[in-house]
Symmetry: C2
Subunit: 202 residues, 2 copies
Amino acid sequence: MLLVDIGNTNYHIYDNGKITHLKDIRAFGRKLYYISVNSKKEQKLVELNPKAVNLAGYVRFDTRYKGLGIDRIMACKTISDGVVVDAGSAITVDVMESSVHKGGVILPGVYAFKKAFGTISEVLNFNPSPLSPQLPDSTQEALNWGSIGAVVCVIEKVSQNKKVFFTGGDGKIFEEYFKNSEYIEDLVFRGMLKTIEEMEKK
Amino acid sequence: MLLVDIGNTNYHIYDNGKITHLKDIRAFGRKLYYISVNSKKEQKLVELNPKAVNLAGYVRFDTRYKGLGIDRIMACKTISDGVVVDAGSAITVDVMESSVHKGGVILPGVYAFKKAFGTISEVLNFNPSPLSPQLPDSTQEALNWGSIGAVVCVIEKVSQNKKVFFTGGDGKIFEEYFKNSEYIEDLVFRGMLKTIEEMEKK
């Protein structure tokens, strides 16, 4: 059995505990469950793997949020209490209380910030680095505070004293700023596995 | 006498208290002082107005920040104590204490956030609106919190209890979230006028 999380940029593949990231997809000839936030990439996966099962139709999840992305649902599904941060192309911050989703925030991802600064002016050339404790005294650090620092600021505001669970390619960049936190590489896949379990119990 | 603040996107013109914004520049045939953060736009202005005086060579300003933009220097120059926020293509947040610049932050501007979200996914279509008090329950509001809200969060963190002075095309969007604040349309030009005064006293 293979799990595929189709993101905005990559296919994330979970094969018996091992995670890989692919720009492009192929025929796997195996039982395959997937979720997707990118319809073009999804179409390609289904063409090559016609028996693939989209888990979006089977997941149960309690939220008042209209149109919550399936990747965010899966990332939150195994967390009963805490804040879930998925840092990829976009950075999502979602709050879970007693297994109920209370709402969430979407920020640009690290690369999106870098590109945004670059299109404003070629002078605003930014490479993420650890945040300085004192107010920035250089453009590099000013951009760092205005991107990495802005994301940290929003997570702090939303999380207050709750535990923060990080996942996604850039999750570790942010995890270090939070004492009560954990990085879980396969958080989305845990939600997918739980959904499959629930399907099979029916 | 005409003042011109050449930004990343527009020429901002100050003519005896009246401010206009031009995409393109022309020959004015008048005494003209300017500052610039955009060398291409500056070249065009100087070609058409060969006697234009760049105030960057004349300004005195106390800071430990290396390479502080001339527009930020001018916006801060007439503020002895407080936080200066210039919200244009980029959003700069600078701290002044006893007429000394203590450092600052650069965030993407509102339009840069909008573009950044749009390039991540066409689903992330964002139009700025007033921030909801409770945690977002829709993508529109989640993006609003992740852009307008992120900027407000950083300004709050940097400003603490200091007065915040807003300027720039989008300054009013952010000013409403701060009790101890003021919007000053001509803040950069006030700094330019003060610099000219200081030049003439010499």
